[in-house]
């Protein structure tokens, strides 16, 4: 399967899962909103140019926004993490040229610890920005802090489960530089 086709399927799948499963769950607590959809952006290939990465993030977020009737909210957060992604990858990539030898960020291509940090940092940025925008219209400071902490925790658990259930075998590609 080509990268384009694979990512197109993921695009729809992640949005449908987010809208029709995770948003439909009975609320556990007001601090907890299970977010998983932005994993799509974290899984995009290394080779994507930065401009199209940012643009993809924007449209992806906007698609989700039309389901939640909050145009711009998720789009802003997704644009932010799509823009920051290359910087975080550059900082965390351990082996020389791993971003050339492998297709996309994963446990096999980056290793457990760097990949975990990569996911955690971008999750945190995404949630901080998202909750901050929500906080501007209502809420208190404790709501802000509590929601970021709880939501980040839930998201990390969800991403771990997804990574274990749908293990992505990333082949080592030589001579691609």
């Amino acid at each position: 399967m080509s990268d384009l086709l694979k990512n197109t399927i993921r695009f729809f799948l992640f949005i449908l899962v987010q809208v029709f499963i995770l948003f439909k769950m009975p609320p556990l607590h007001r601090y907890i909103t299970p977010y998983l959809y932005y994993l799509f952006i974290l899984w995009l290939p290394f080779s994507m140019p930065r401009m199209s990465l940012t643009l993809t993030g924007f449209f992806y977020g906007l698609c989700l926004d039309y389901f939640t009737h909050t145009p711009g909210l998720h789009a802003a957060a997704c644009t932010l993490i799509a823009y920051l992604r290359p910087f975080v990858i550059n900082l965390l990539i351990s082996q020389e040229g791993a971003d050339k030898n492998y297709g996309s960020p994963s446990i096999t291509s980056m290793g457990w610890a760097p990949y975990g940090t990569y996911v955690f940092v971008l999750t945190l940025f995404h949630h901080i920005y998202l909750v901050f925008l929500e906080w501007m219209s209502f809420g208190s400071f404790w709501y802000f802090i509590g929601k970021i902490t709880a939501t980040t925790g839930i998201s990390m658990v969800l991403i771990l489960l997804t990574e274990l259930l749908f293990f992505r075998k990333d082949k080592f590609r030589t001579n691609t530089v």
């Binding site: 940012t54 009737h69 145009p71 644009t79 823009y83 219209s137 209502f138």
Partner: protein, 284 residues
């Protein structure tokens, strides 16, 4: 000039990012003014259709409960039938006079339109419902929405076949209600804590309130007919520094299993709005 182009080329990605951020933030904060007309029509139609497909699956599992609810409502309505109320009306005599006033003729002010709920959220801070009835079937923004149990929200946006309802569980939703016992008016809003409870503010301390009292809609809200259930008093919060009670209400509507709602069309809403607006303009 060359330096400007160099600058743009050097920081193109960052500038592009900034532009997208500005676009999305302007979507977010100017939502009510222009956005809904421009994009929400088409997008609402598409997400509405998807929601409907999904609802077809979930609906099947709730058939039994929906049926029970309808039976209960039918029973309540049957009891209101004219035939059930009997007794000679001896204290009214029709007297023919030169002035003609038909005291028996009543106008139909509120029209109920039924609609199926195809999308519903309860776990965000800004909850909306999508219903399968739109502008083609005379739904307009600013119509009240009730379920058989109590009030649900207000229509905020319509497309051809679907409408989006701002739920009572939205942080910006406000509606004027009254105590059934005594008639003191106050405003209901949601504090975002739990989807089972809402807050009623500005009830004067002179009002007699007990736990379990019924709260109903007031005729001053002009979106809802009077005396529709809103909730029951769960807790009375007595703020010593003010002259008003804050009441915590248990919502009458169970937002978790809404299947059918009624959109209420106030046939005189435009007229009332017009005269109120023109008065306001006069005294500005």
């Amino acid at each position: 000039m060359r330096n400007v182009f160099l600058f743009i080329r050097r920081y193109f990605n960052f500038l592009f990012f900034l532009v997208l951020q500005i676009v999305s933030l302007s979507f977010l904060f100017r939502y009510n003014k222009f956005h809904e007309a421009a994009f929400m029509g088409v997008a609402g139609e598409m997400t509405g259709r998807l929601n409907e497909k999904f609802n077809n699956v979930g609906y099947y599992f709730k058939l039994k409960m929906t049926n029970e609810e309808l039976v209960r409502e039918n029973k309540r309505l049957n009891q209101l039938l004219r035939e059930n109320l009997e007794g000679p009306d001896s204290n009214r005599k029709l007297v023919s006079d030169t002035t003609y006033t038909d005291s028996l003729k009543k106008i139909l002010k509120y029209v109920y339109l039924e609609a199926k709920v195809v999308g519903n959220s309860v776990n965000s801070q800004a909850n909306f419902l999508t219903i399968h009835r739109g502008a083609a079937e005379s739904v307009k923004p600013n119509m009240g929405v009730v379920s058989s149990q109590g009030i649900v929200g207000t229509v905020v946006n319509v497309s051809e076949n679907y409408a989006v309802v701002m739920s009572l569980l939205h942080r910006q939703y406000k509606v004027v209600v009254k105590l059934k016992n005594g008639g003191d008016r106050g405003t209901v809003e949601w504090d975002g804590l739990s989807p089972f409870f809402i807050t009623l503010k500005d009830i004067p301390k002179s009002a007699r309130v007990n736990i379990g009292d019924t709260i109903v809609t007031s005729q001053t809200s002009s979106l809802f007919p009077p005396n529709i259930m809103v909730g029951t008093v769960h807790e009375i919060i007595d703020d010593k520094s003010s002259n008003f009670y804050s009441l915590r209400l248990r919502t009458a509507t169970n937002f978790f299993n809404l299947e059918y709602v009624y959109v209420i069309q106030n046939t005189q809403y435009e007229e009332q709005k017009r005269i109120e607006d023109s008065t306001r303009k006069k005294f500005q």
